[in-house]
């Protein structure tokens, strides 16, 4: 079977009384949701509400503590993902997806139900090319996945699921790494497939706009409980939001002060090869003044990752360098401490955390070797470290079973909050953030953006690299566009035009 064409039609899936416990953490409590065949069903909920856990139970990735799964009209036992696949269920996970060292083509072929003992690559390539031709979008198939940008990987992942002929497809925040245009195209395609009765889609998202534009039915989880299901046509954003957060209030936006100071961050004559080693990133001059947010817009894979890696010290540039407050800066722990540079890189679990160390330890990475008054210390003060972590977790609303749990057990949004909590405390001169709201629920998005504005107002230079143009337009004082490894466009906030910026992003000025 070579996938797509062989799919026999959409499936309905029903979860009855699903509960999931991790040790003494109750992640899901008696959740019953029915997803009708041939619909696009959205699953909403705050960070840590249990959405990912719920769909992982459907897929047999977690063994649920209690409950049943009904596929079509039969109750089935999904022991493991393989069993789920055999029933036609497929999923794009939030964190781990493709095998990094395998190429796209290898990833797709090896995931098939039946892989021939000997693979005829010529024939497979041809078949893949034919398949991709029928799809509305494509992704590089011959490059190892680790060299692809997040957006390309996501597309490849969805291509893979369609190639495998899934009849019930679960997507965990599929559009967080796509541009709005790409997201609309993708979701539009998926909705057409559901309409034609070939596919059922269960999609986790934080973007209410996508829910109302593309989904037919929406279900909401709150703190591990199912709080309601309804037709999207009958609900507006307000009522969906109210179902998600209950009685809480969303933090109001922060005013923007305007006292722009001297240049805090300057990048000069920077040259570095990109991930593939074929193209070059060239940034002649980029400066951010204190009290200013400079936003870099661009489609993923145009050099933002590499720029960020240079700024965080993960990549040594071929030439050129960084200046902080006029002084040359080479990222190191000592230099970071002396200058007050803070970073939130993309994919924080991989780039800014030690995933097997505890939340408390991860929160202390900037401070564990200093006393309160800034002197170096030799012995760790574990109780202080824990109480500080509890304090930060409360202030930034990080939901975790305890601060002693490993970082990897936190939900996607909570990882993001934890890194923000670490980076946004202390004195900040320069803040460098990439996609800060990736995977956050709308309440958290408002909160994070207002915190970034607060940092700006307190006189820090803020560089915001984001694939979300709306975010840039909302936050940035000055907007740059990055395309093909270069800065191709600059405009002030006052005269920013989304259409012009979009054209530059697409490389068609």
């Amino acid at each position: 079977m070579t996938g797509f064409a062989a799919a026999a039609g959409a499936l309905s899936v029903e979860a009855v009384g699903v509960s999931m416990r991790f040790g003494d953490v109750v992640a899901l409590d008696d959740v019953s949701v029915r997803v009708e065949a041939g619909t696009m069903h959205a699953l909403l909920g705050e960070n840590g509400a249990g959405k990912s856990t719920f769909v992982k139970c459907l897929m047999g990735f977690h063994r649920m503590t209690a409950g049943q799964i009904v596929v079509g009209s039969r109750e089935v036992d999904v022991r493991d993902p393989r069993a789920a696949h055999a029933h036609g269920l497929g999923m794009v996970y939030q964190h781990f997806t493709l095998v990094p060292s395998l190429s796209g083509a290898e990833n797709m072929v090896i995931s098939r139900e039946r892989v021939p003992t000997v693979i005829d690559w010529q024939a497979e390539r041809a078949a893949l090319a034919r398949f991709v031709d029928t799809m509305p979008f494509t992704a590089p198939l011959d490059v190892p996945v680790q060299r692809l940008a997040a957006g390309e990987r996501q597309k490849l992942e969805i291509l893979k699921q369609l190639y495998l002929g899934r009849r019930f497809l679960i997507l965990d925040e599929p559009t967080s790494v796509l541009t709005p245009g790409e997201a609309d195209e993708l979701l539009g395609t998926l909705r057409d497939l559901t309409r034609s009765g070939r596919l059922t889609v269960l999609m986790i998202t934080h973007k209410l706009r996508e829910v109302s534009a593309f989904a037919h039915v929406v279900s909401v989880l709150r703190q591990g409980r199912h709080v309601g299901t309804g037709r999207v046509a009958d609900l507006d954003h307000g009522s969906m939001a109210a179902m998600m957060i209950g009685e809480k209030t969303v933090r109001a936006g922060t005013e923007r002060g305007n006292a722009v100071g001297s240049v805090g961050l300057r990048v000069q004559d920077l040259r570095t090869p990109d991930r593939t080693g074929r193209k070059e990133i060239v940034i002649d001059s980029l400066s951010v003044r204190s009290g200013e947010i400079v936003g870099i817009a661009g489609i993923s894979g145009n050099g933002q990752t590499e720029l960020m890696e240079v700024l965080t010290g993960q990549r040594r540039p071929q030439s050129g360098g960084i200046r902080i407050d006029g002084r040359s800066y080479v990222p190191s722990r000592a230099a970071v401490h002396a200058t007050g540079v803070r970073c939130l890189p993309e994919e924080p679990l991989r780039n800014a955390c030690a995933s097997r160390m505890s939340l408390a330890e991860n929160l202390a990475f900037r401070t564990f070797d200093r006393t309160v008054d800034g002197r170096r210390r030799f012995w760790l003060d574990r109780p202080a470290l824990r109480s500080r972590a509890r304090d930060l977790a409360a202030r930034f609303r990080i939901h975790a079973a305890s601060v002693e749990h490993p970082m990897a057990s936190l939900s996607g949004g909570n990882v993001q909050r934890a890194v923000l909590a670490r980076e946004l405390t202390g004195t900040i001169r320069v803040l460098i953030v990439a996609n800060p709201c990736f995977g956050l629920d709308f309440a958290a998005v408002a909160e994070v953006r207002s915190r970034i504005l607060t940092v700006r107002n307190s006189g820090a230079a803020v560089l915001l690299i984001s694939e979300d143009l709306d975010e840039i337009l909302e936050l940035a004082d000055r907007i740059l566009v990055m395309s093909e490894g270069r800065i191709v466009h600059e405009t002030a906030r006052a005269c920013a035009d989304a259409a012009v910026i979009g054209r530059h992003m697409a490389g068609r000025p």
Binding site: P81, M91, F96, P100, I110
Partner: protein, 309 residues
């Protein structure tokens, strides 16, 4: 020197070529075994022990049965068992594969010494070699081109493994498991089983490498039979970037370096040749320093390997 006979000038490279082929075979088998194991995401430092155990078992079995090939089979079997033990122990929670490997290395050597005592004196049959040098008059050429069947089998195996990793289901599955056990789990692959089998198969190859030592070159069983080939093979795999065909090249290189000392000695250089016996070790160290970099991770390292995590 004018008085030196002509053939001696050719002697060193010829002896080195022959020596490289002879000495590299155990390197080749152990490194292919380690390559297979590491591609599945596990390190087996115990292959040195497996090598010595294989040498003893192979020699003993060949002596008892009178057939060198049955000896090779027995060595492979012993290697499989030893690899499987490593695989099973590593499955237990909170077990570190490096520590287990070192323990098994010592255990393997100990077992081989213990059970091998009675086989130090007797003479077992040798493995056959193919005389590719039949056309030549010169005895040096004939010795150099006397190639053991196992070496040829090892070359074929290296190519076969490379092909397996690229174009077979088993090969791709091993790579998936070695690179991301989360992705493998999401795919429904049973990672533990795949690792166990790969570790056992890797052990079998190391066992065959050991049989070569005792049944062909040097061709007898004694307690000093291995000079750390099993450990150097681990370094060799890293140098070869986990690529079986490059393992072949690296094994030949190490073999050539190992043959330098004996080659110099064979043409009558008597001073300082001892130093050249150290060549493989110096080469190991030099290559590892030269090929590692402080700025980037090892290219091609399987993601699940405990040395690269």
């Amino acid at each position: 020197m004018a008085s030196m006979p002509d053939v001696d000038l050719w002697g060193v490279p010829l002896a080195m070529l022959g020596g490289a082929i002879r000495v590299s075979t155990p390197f080749l088998f152990v490194s292919l075994g380690e390559c297979l194991t590491e591609r599945a995401g596990r390190v087996n430092l115990g292959l040195e022990g497996t090598l010595v155990l294989g040498a003893m078992t192979g020699y003993g079995a060949a002596y008892e049965t009178g057939s060198a090939w049955l000896g090779v089979g027995a060595a492979a079997l012993a290697g499989t068992l030893f690899g499987a033990v490593h695989g099973v122990v590593c499955r237990l929670p909170r077990v570190n594969d490096i520590a287990t490997g070192i323990a098994l290395m010592l255990l393997g050597i100990g077992l081989a010494f213990f059970f091998g005592k009675p086989y130090i004196q007797p003479v077992a049959p040798d493995l056959p070699a193919i005389p590719f040098g039949w056309w030549s008059e010169s005895p040096q050429v004939r010795t150099a081109l006397n190639v053991n069947v196992l070496f040829l089998a090892g070359c074929a195996l290296a190519v076969a493994l490379a092909w397996m990793f690229r174009a077979t289901r088993i090969g791709l599955t091993i790579r998936v498991v070695g690179d991301s056990s989360d992705a493998a789990r999401a795919m429904g692959v049973r990672t533990h089983t795949v690792r166990l089998l790969a570790t056992a198969a890797g052990g079998a190859l190391a066992g065959v490498g050991g049989a070569y030592l005792s049944l062909y070159y040097p061709g007898s069983w004694n307690e000093g039979i291995s000079s750390g080939q099993g450990l150097m093979a681990v370094a060799l795999v890293i140098f070869a970037r986990w690529n079986p065909v490059r393992c072949l090249g690296a094994a030949l290189l190490f073999g050539g370096a190992g043959a330098l000392g004996p080659a110099l000695q064979s043409v009558g250089i008597t001073q300082g040749y001892h130093l050249f016996y150290a060549a493989p070790y110096v080469l190991t160290l030099g290559l590892l320093v030269a090929t590692s970099s402080p700025t980037r991770a090892l290219a091609g390292a399987p993601g699940e390997l405990s040395i690269s995590r």
